[in-house]
């Protein structure tokens, strides 16, 4: 009996996986993503190439020589007579070019056609110059200013030390991949279940296999599809990370500092069961939707986003009561517990307890999803309401 169940579930799982996992489409998506990134990177560089050129700034001949010298390091400084001001302002109005800087002992006055990125850069440089001038006024050296502004020199000594910085990056990365997998599942479950209903295949299928086999096959098959996409993008991200390190002058192997094996060993099973749980929930919701274009229940499919985002609250205070709750609550624990583990001290009993709870939740949710599906096919001709599904599930 179990062998027959397993054989049927594997058949349905493979079918659903092959229906939705299209390596060609996946490769095409990746190529589009890479091309888009390259276009944006080089396009952006080209687009900003004008603003990266040295800006020409006009100043009066009698302006503070120190300021003129300071500005010369960053801009082309053109000294003009005060009489030329009107002509320059006229040029700004008509030709939309030119910058005039006036300065006295207190203020800087900038004239330009409009506020641009170059003007914002100029303001940054003026702020820097202003600081230096004020320091000189009170006789403060640059080293003394740095000492004043630096944080208190606290030497930390903890019993538990974590090295969490890089691990948190990895946990965010996993949460991101999970969101991606859940949203891919959202699209696939919708197509798989409501599509089969609309194509009128459901009745033929349930005459051959039990609703539980059908539901399990759908959940496993589509989870597998989501995970395959997730792995593809994970590998791509690692390669992208290595290239980033290479371009920024760091060794490509620097990415290995972020790939902390124990974290992966913990995140993977949590992410896997988390995706299975969301697939079971999404499949149950899709089961009671007849027409996805007109059903008010379609918005429920956005539910996972709320819980995944809630799990990010962990980072504010991983030891708070809320964080502990989120890391145990099955709808958030798949992302919250690995995150907590990355940034604070979490006992192995907590890790295993939360994981067991997650697995048990999946076990019962898939049963509930199959029951909802079985009940929803009894209601024909219209979309079942939640109360109808509840009443019928109590009766059957």
């Amino acid at each position: 009996m179990i062998m027959k169940y397993l054989k049927q579930v594997i058949t349905v799982t493979r079918w659903e996986f092959s229906r939705f996992y299209k390596p060609k489409n996946e490769a095409l998506g990746l190529i589009i993503m890479i091309v888009t990134s390259v276009v944006f990177y080089f396009g952006g560089k080209y687009a900003f190439s004008d603003t990266d050129k040295k800006l020409e700034i006009s100043v009066y001949m009698d302006m503070d020589a120190a300021l003129t010298e300071f500005l010369s390091n960053h801009y082309i400084v053109k000294e003009i007579q005060k009489a030329e001001m009107a002509k320059l302002i006229e040029l700004m109005r008509n030709e939309k070019v030119g910058v005039l800087l006036e300065s006295d002992s207190k203020n800087f006055v900038v004239h330009a056609y409009k506020n641009t990125r170059a003007i914002k850069n100029l303001k940054t440089h003026l702020t820097e110059y202003h600081k230096q001038r004020e320091m000189q006024k009170i006789g403060l050296s640059p080293d003394e200013l740095t000492a004043v502004l630096s944080p208190a020199p606290v030497i930390e000594s903890f019993v538990y030390t974590d090295n969490s910085g890089k691990r948190v990056v990895l946990s965010y990365f996993f949460a991101g991949l999970m969101i991606m997998a859940v949203f891919l599942s959202f699209a696939y479950q919708f197509t798989a279940i409501t599509g089969e209903k609309q194509l009128k295949i459901t009745e033929q299928i349930v005459s051959a296999i039990s609703p539980q086999v059908w539901m399990d096959g759908k959940i496993f098959g589509i989870t597998l599809t989501g995970i395959s996409s997730m792995l593809t993008y994970a590998v791509l991200s690692i390669v992208g990370g290595m290239l980033f390190f290479q371009f920024t002058g760091l060794p490509a192997s620097g990415i290995l500092d972020y790939i902390y094996l124990p974290s992966i060993v913990i995140y993977l099973p949590f992410a896997l069961v988390g995706i299975l749980i969301w697939n079971a929930i999404l499949a149950a919701i899709a089961s009671i939707i007849t027409d996805p274009n007109n059903s008010g229940k379609s918005s429920l499919m956005m539910l996972p986003l709320f819980f995944v985002i809630a799990s990010f609250l962990i980072t504010r205070d991983p030891d708070s009561g809320l964080s502990i709750f989120l890391s145990w609550f099955p709808l958030t624990s798949a992302t919250s517990m690995p995150m907590r583990w990355a940034i604070t001290e979490v006992g192995y009993w907590q890790l295993s307890g939360s994981f067991i709870l997650l697995v048990l939740t999946f076990y019962f949710l898939r049963k509930l999803a199959a029951k909802i599906f079985r009940v929803s096919i009894l209601i024909t001709g219209k979309e079942p309401t939640f109360s109808e599904v509840y009443k019928l599930s109590k009766m059957t």
């Binding site: 027959k4 049927q8 058949t11 349905v12 079918w15 229906r19 194509l199 009128k200 295949i201 009745e203 033929q204 299928i205 349930v206 005459s207 051959a208 296999i209 096919i377 009894l378 059957t396």
Partner: protein
């Protein structure tokens, strides 16, 4: 208990099913024996599909029970490997190659993949679609799609197959083709439960029938039996010169029912004891008749009469 000596493969005992305030099926019983083409007939909404769904355990009866005896095993629920089903609400994956869909349908019913592929190709050859095996279903005509759906329901060589409205949406040529398919799989040993409302087609293949109306049994027995019981009536159709007026015919001896076909045509059904000679004699006394034809009632007409009586 099912009597194995009689090779009864399905026995339905007093099943009923209601939805809200509607009694969809009301206390019906019947038995199907091995090799039968058992017609389950009734108009739309009579309770046929509800009964079939109970047979397949898709829904449970409110009362009564169902016994299956397939592959020598007695069960309350049919084993998917031994039963085929073409639902009334049917479809297949439109965006997937035909052969792939057929193989999947057979494998979820327990058939080995390689054997399913071979059998599917044989069937595709037989229905003239072998060269389109790798095409998607959506490119086929509606008639060809229905052929594929039929093949999907019998590909795994079931011992018993339920065909719910197999002729719906088919043109006359394809209806005849489906009748040939049904005869062919029956000759190969498959017992068939055929639910339909096109009685003229059903009477070409069925050997037994169950007539159902509003969830109630109207007739249960052999096809020859229903003709013996109800087929000895005489039906006369008259072409009139002036619009039909019922009072003109109400004094005809032996007339069980008088129905207008249209303004200028009328159908009169006479009881079994009626003498055709006397009827014709009486009709000569009525003015305005320009044509007379007579025939024995077909299954459709018998069904209409039975429902009226009920």
């Amino acid at each position: 208990m099912i009597d194995k000596m009689q090779k009864t493969v399905l026995r339905v005992n007093f099943i009923s099913k209601g939805f809200s305030n509607v009694k969809a099926v009301n206390n019906i019983s019947f038995a199907v024996e091995q090799g039968d083409i058992y017609a389950f007939l009734g108009p739309n909404g009579a309770g046929k599909t509800t009964t079939i769904r109970m047979l397949l355990d898709i829904i449970k009866p409110d009362s009564g029970n169902i016994e299956w005896n397939l592959n020598g095993k007695q069960n309350k629920v049919p084993n998917a490997e031994h039963i085929g089903y073409l639902p009334e609400e049917r479809g297949l994956y439109l965006d997937i190659p035909i052969l792939k869909s057929l193989v999947y349908m057979a494998t979820i019913r327990g058939m080995e993949k390689a054997y399913a592929k071979k059998t599917a190709l044989d069937w595709l050859e037989r229905i003239g679609l072998a060269d389109r095996a790798k095409e998607k279903l959506q490119v086929l005509s509606k008639g060809n799609q229905q052929k594929i759906q039929f093949v999907a329901s019998i590909l795994h060589k079931p011992e018993f197959v339920i065909l719910d409205e197999p002729f719906s949406g088919l043109d006359p040529l394809n209806q005849e083709l489906f009748i040939d398919f049904i005869k062919e799989i029956n000759n190969q040993g498959t017992t068939i439960l055929l639910s339909a409302h096109q009685m003229s087609l059903v009477e070409k293949v069925a050997n037994k029938l169950f007539l159902i109306n509003n969830g109630n049994e109207v007739y249960n027995g052999s096809l020859s039996g229903i003709y013996q019981l109800f087929g000895e009536r005489i039906i006369i159709e008259l072409q009139l010169e002036a619009p039909f007026n019922e009072t003109t015919f109400q004094y005809l001896n032996g007339a069980e029912s008088i129905d207008s076909i249209d303004d200028l045509r009328v159908k009169i059904t006479f009881g079994q004891e009626t003498n055709l000679k006397n009827v014709l004699h009486d009709l000569t006394k009525i003015e305005g008749i320009c044509d007379i034809t007579s025939h024995k009632p077909d299954l459709h007409e018998i069904f209409v009469q039975l429902v009226k009586k009920q």
